[in-house]
Symmetry: C2
Subunit: 376 residues, 2 copies
């Protein structure tokens, strides 16, 4: 048996939605599925044992953060990232490139506000064909991140799925700049793949499709990257400035991806996006949105959510959702969560994070059932 394979179980008759299983050295990921973000090797405000008990099947850790602290040597000495975190389910790491570029650029909306006047600032020092030179936010060290060094770092971490180095182009660059960026990204991804294939170590590598908001370049990126022996395909870069643009671009791109390999949508997981993305054929999607919302007091529910800090929560002596089976809903009332949050008790962040991750895991399980019935 190969160390990594995608098993297509059901293709919906109603949409591109599909149910499958990704087999990895650390177990199965049922798809479609939600991928929680554990930037520094843990979901924020939660431990990995509790997270596994919530039946989360895939966690996304950030190579950028783990490279700077504690560093790949420490994690390697600990026996790899799974052992270091005490998380024995599938893991995915990114290349580190996204954070290097995005921390320098800010968000798309920051960019739109600056009308494209903003250039790389702060931490990115130089981008060359070799790679990207940046300054560590931890100690000021200059670090050169190349396709080869990113993969070597990801080999030390040992996640089940790894990601090649890409360049994250700014949202508002010119078409010719975007094309040059895409070509470089393709060369970097190819070098990443070559580096990976020298010593596979039972890891799988997903390419990252780029091309920004340009349909032609997106098609080109799909065609080029699917011609290479990647194990799956992640969708990265800016897909537009709103949900409608993102859905349109995904609708255009998804047919170019092979049916027999898994795909992943990078950094998207807000409640408004999930259903439509699954209809378009997305297998997995990662997002820090549910855990960030938790820490800001938004508890997810089928009807959108409860703002725990709003004044009506003060005397709401019911659980967030009386039908929810999570630890938080089984044990605590909204009024108590409201009080803890107002008192800035860390306990509130943990309890709401448990609820929101449980909600996402259950939501995707529900969608898998729906797709099997061709309801989605």
């Amino acid at each position: 048996m190969p160390h990594f394979r995608f098993e297509l179980i059901h293709q919906s008759k109603k949409s591109r939605a599909r149910v499958g299983r990704i087999h990895t050295p650390h177990g199965i990921i049922e798809t479609p599925n939600f991928v929680a973000v554990g930037t520094n090797g843990t979901p924020k405000a939660l431990d990995t044992i509790t997270t596994a008990a919530l039946d989360l099947q895939l966690m996304f850790c950030n190579t950028y953060h783990l490279l700077l602290q504690p560093g790949p040597e420490i994690i390697s000495q600990a026996g790899g990232l799974h052992k270091f975190m005490n998380w024995h389910r599938p893991l995915i790491t990114d290349s580190g490139g996204f954070q290097v570029f995005s921390l320098a650029q800010g968000t798309v909306s920051d960019e739109l506000k600056s009308r494209g006047q903003k250039s790389y600032s702060g931490s990115v020092l130089k981008i060359t064909e070799e790679g990207v030179l940046f300054r560590s936010y931890r100690n000021g060290d200059q670090i050169l991140l190349t396709p080869e060094s990113s993969i070597q770092t990801q080999k030390a971490l040992g996640a089940d799925i790894i990601i090649p180095l890409d360049e994250l182009p700014a949202y508002s660059i010119s078409p010719s700049q975007l094309r040059r960026s895409l070509d470089r990204t393709h060369r970097w991804e190819r070098r990443s793949l070559d580096e990976h294939r020298k010593d596979i170590r039972k890891q799988a590598m997903y390419a990252v499709i780029h091309g920004g908001v340009n349909p032609e370049l997106r098609k080109l990126s799909c065609e080029y990257l699917t011609s290479l022996p990647f194990d799956g395909f992640a969708i990265g870069g800016s897909l537009g400035k709103n949900h409608a643009e993102m859905f349109e671009m995904l609708n255009l791109m998804m047919p170019y991806l092979p049916n027999d390999k898994p795909n992943h949508l990078l950094g998207i997981g807000d409640l408004k996006s999930v259903e439509r993305c699954l209809e378009l054929g997305i297998d997995t999607m990662d997002s820090s949105h549910p855990t960030r919302c938790a820490r800001h007091g938004l508890a997810f529910t089928a009807t959108g959510g409860i703002k725990i800090l709003q004044s009506t929560s003060r005397t709401n002596f019911n659980p967030i959702d009386p039908t929810c089976h999570c630890f938080t809903c089984q044990n605590y009332q909204v009024a108590y969560l409201h009080h803890l949050l107002k008192a800035s008790e860390l306990t509130a962040y943990t309890l709401l994070t448990i609820h929101n991750i449980h909600f996402m895991v259950q939501l995707f399980s529900h969608y898998r059932s729906q797709i099997r019935l061709d309801f989605l």
Copy 2:
């Protein structure tokens, strides 16, 4: 059976140390025992279910904080503090006085530095025979805390053990001021007891012994308060400026307290104090020290503790204590905790808090065995 009683099980032949059981409407407290602080209705960085699983038997909540937020009406509507917190073991609340005075005064060491020049500042507006008028740190409201209002608030909260209102005298006041403060405290405690006895509601009330660092006044306070029908005796106020002075004062006072009632040492629970306090006959002691140390990265061990942030922790791939059975030691290594703490991950605070509370609970269990064998 009375709703509250103290059962003396063993009196050490070697010291004043003793083993007993306090029977309360929410179960038994084995003594001597550690009392964790849950200021706002939860131990910091921990939930009440996990805390119960650590076998903590008594939690100390602060009336001052709960009075200001969420307020006694909300807690009463929720069915009382036990239900609100989902903690169904014994609870103790204080009067609110300690925080009103101590937040205005600062610590004893602050006071020593200011050489007695510091007067009440900020939140305390006026102290009269009626009570103390203070300003809420939450919304600026003026609130009059009287013996009667403190007890009414504690009735709404519904803890198993409640505390009468006292005045916390500054460490460095004159002997005549200290005497006047003690007399007022005695009158306030008497009024608190009267208010309590109008409607006992299965609550027990512990007096608070005062008298500052004056042995004669401490003796007087013991004699007066033990002449009233309190259910137990807490030791409050300043006992000196170091451990030696505190032990000397406790050695002097403890013989004045009745053997057939439980006692409690307020706000002391650092590792240096515990053993000697138990030898002097202390039954329970509360402290935020273990949970605060946890959040600052000190993990308790039999040999003092491990500073998780120190550089040697970086490559320490062992648990905090290989013989410890807590969730944290069973699942995580010091190197991982070091990494999480350096990355400011809230998860680290929770994991270290679990370890330190487990450590304190086990430590007191160990001392109970030692006392039963007359080794302490």
